[in-house]
């Protein structure tokens, strides 16, 4: 059996989560801070059950991009180029163009090339460079370090690698666009599930996206996506507060520390799942009687 991926979120659920993300955009009231919620809404707009809203989204993307371009010192913004590249790619995917976004991306390439070699060989930078290159922005992708090449080959060491190294590993895998075999997929999915159970959502979701993009998703991958799907709340946000933790995880604002990051991760993961060429296995019916 295969899952019907359009069922992951209904039209109403997509609308509710988009509304939450739009509220976050308004709350921050700054084009720079609006990048991430906007990225989440674009991800949701790519889902099969979403109602087309690209006119609005494209307008907002142009507003955000113009805000970045008009900033007196854009380098001081410490913007993560990846969501911007992803937004650009999604808009391009529906045959639209936001010239301001193109201008931003044209600046990213030279910035990357001006970085020292040790920075250019990190997974994140290589992934950005590789994606830009595929989008037609001239760019040179540096080689990974010897240490990284060893890690890529020593699969047993993935299990005990710290989250930062795994995150870097995932970036390298995506940068190089090398298909993952069944064993690689299983290893990364198991690690992702373990991380999700510890509520380490960023690395858990990143590994799942990598597997969905490059691997042969199996039961463990499906469990990982299900884990995230079950974090959904009535208002469209994702995540559960651990109210009984001795030191509360969320001190000041749970929206910025938990709900928004988790909702963005969920939207990105569902988008990746929807684009996945291999259908995830679906749980068979439980034969259970009282």
């Amino acid at each position: 059996m295969v899952s019907n991926k359009s069922d992951r979120l209904s039209t109403e659920q997509i609308a509710l989560t988009s509304k939450y993300l739009a509220e976050m955009t308004e709350r921050f009231a700054s084009p720079i801070a609006a990048v991430q919620p906007l990225f989440g809404r674009c991800c949701l707009a790519t889902l099969p059950s979403s109602i087309p809203c690209w006119d609005t989204l494209t307008r907002e993307v142009a507003w955000v991009a113009a805000g970045i371009l008009s900033h007196p010192d854009p380098a001081s913004l410490s913007l993560d180029p990846l969501p911007i590249i992803e937004i650009y790619t999604m808009i391009k995917g529906i045959d639209r163009e936001v010239p301001e976004m193109r201008q931003i991306l044209e600046r990213v390439g030279p910035d990357l090339e001006a970085q020292p070699p040790e920075i250019r060989s990190t997974g994140r930078v290589r992934q950005i460079a590789s994606t830009l290159s595929k989008l037609g922005f001239p760019n040179q992708v540096a080689s990974p370090t010897k240490e990284t090449k060893n890690l890529l080959n020593e699969k047993e060491s993935w299990f005990s690698a710290p989250a930062s190294k795994l995150s870097d590993l995932a970036d390298h895998l995506i940068a190089d666009d090398v298909p993952l075999d069944e064993t690689d997929t299983k290893i990364l999915s198991l690690i992702a599930l373990g991380e999700l159970r510890n509520y380490h959502l960023d690395i858990g979701c990143k590994l799942l996206r990598t597997v969905l993009q490059l691997g042969v998703p199996g039961e463990e991958t499906r469990d990982g996506v299900d884990f995230i799907a079950l974090q959904r709340r009535r208002d469209g946000r994702y995540g559960f507060l651990d109210r009984l933790a001795e030191k509360p995880e969320q001190t000041a604002d749970p929206d910025t520390t938990l709900f928004l990051p988790m909702t963005l991760n969920a939207a990105w993961l569902f988008k990746t799942e929807a684009a996945c060429v291999v259908m995830l296995p679906v749980l068979t019916t439980v034969g259970e009687t009282a």
């Binding site: 299990f159 290893i187 198991l190 373990g194 469990d223 079950l230 259970e288």
Partner: protein, 295 residues
């Protein structure tokens, strides 16, 4: 007469104490406060039709509705499986409040549909094991019809629950015993769950769980070659000093009336598992699993 002199003042006292308890849970949710509210709810739910209890019951129902609507009950439900009964009870009581609508139950319904809540496998496994062990001793214990359950799937779904504790490991130990007794009548062992727990133990440096899970995966549940190799490497790195047992699991706080796991027992069992794993001869990959024929 008794009502005026004894009962009324007592109820007034209970009313104010209960109000304080509710306020406490409102302002700073804690395990104790929640279980205290649960204890009160257990009696108030049985007082339907008693006019004197109406004030207390109304106060409880209003609070339950507030906690349901704010998402507190959902958060507690996800925090610990043992809260599920009281969450269900409070959710039921909240239904009597006019402002509560079916949409307020959406998340709890999803969690139930996703098999994340209110499915404690330990009582089922316990009954199966008690029956099986006593049957092997010639004693026929009848718990009535236990029903057929696909243990593979039920236990594998535990992987969707965040935050592990000793119950996770206990479930797998019981499952393995059932498989060994060959009396699981067509049930299969879990697949994903033991492997994920093993990965978690490795990544968290939980040297107490590591040898147990490795032994279970090796003999009963199976695991991919690289995971087996990584587990053995981690075990070799965590061999205790001569004369020492392995340490207890980190943050082990699972003692309850239902299950008591003291540090000494947990350290001893894991050291036994480690010693046996290291003593077993032969290569570590592709080991023949001890699985009943029905698998």
């Amino acid at each position: 007469m008794l009502a005026e002199t004894i009962s009324d003042p007592m109820l007034r006292l209970c009313h104010s104490e209960f109000q304080r308890l509710i306020l406490e849970l409102d302002s700073a949710p804690s395990r104790t406060a929640f279980f205290d509210v649960g204890a009160v709810a257990e009696i108030l739910v049985l007082t339907n039709g008693i006019p004197e209890a109406e004030g207390l019951t109304r106060m409880l129902c209003d609070a339950a509705a507030r906690w349901l609507k704010s998402g507190l009950l959902e958060d507690l439900l996800m925090a610990r499986v043992e809260f599920a009964y009281h969450v269900a009870l409070l959710t039921y009581l909240a239904q009597s409040v006019a402002s509560v609508s079916p949409s307020d139950l959406e998340v709890i319904r999803n969690l139930s549909d996703g098999r994340l809540i209110a499915r404690s496998e330990i009582p089922v496994l316990r009954q199966h094991l008690i029956t099986a062990y006593l049957w092997a001793c010639g004693i026929h214990t009848d718990f009535g019809k236990l029903g057929r359950r696909n243990l593979t799937q039920i236990i594998d779904r535990r992987v969707l629950r965040a935050r592990s504790d000793e119950f996770d490991l206990l479930v797998l130990l019981m499952c393995a015993q059932l498989l060994q007794l060959d009396c699981s009548r067509g049930y299969q062992g879990p697949r994903t769950y033991p492997q994920v727990l093993l990965v978690q133990a490795m990544r968290a440096g939980n040297t107490n769980w590591l040898p147990i899970l490795t032994l279970l995966c090796r003999r009963f549940f199976g695991f991919p070659g690289p995971l087996c190799g990584a587990a053995f490497k981690s075990m070799e790195e965590s061999i205790p000093a001569p004369g020492q047992l392995l340490p207890a699991p980190p943050g082990n706080q699972i003692d309850s009336d239902y299950i008591e796991r003291t540090e000494r027992g947990l350290r001893l069992r894991s050291t036994i598992a480690l010693a046996l794993s290291l003593a077993l001869p032969g290569e570590i990959y592709g080991i023949q699993q001890v699985r009943p024929a029905f698998n």
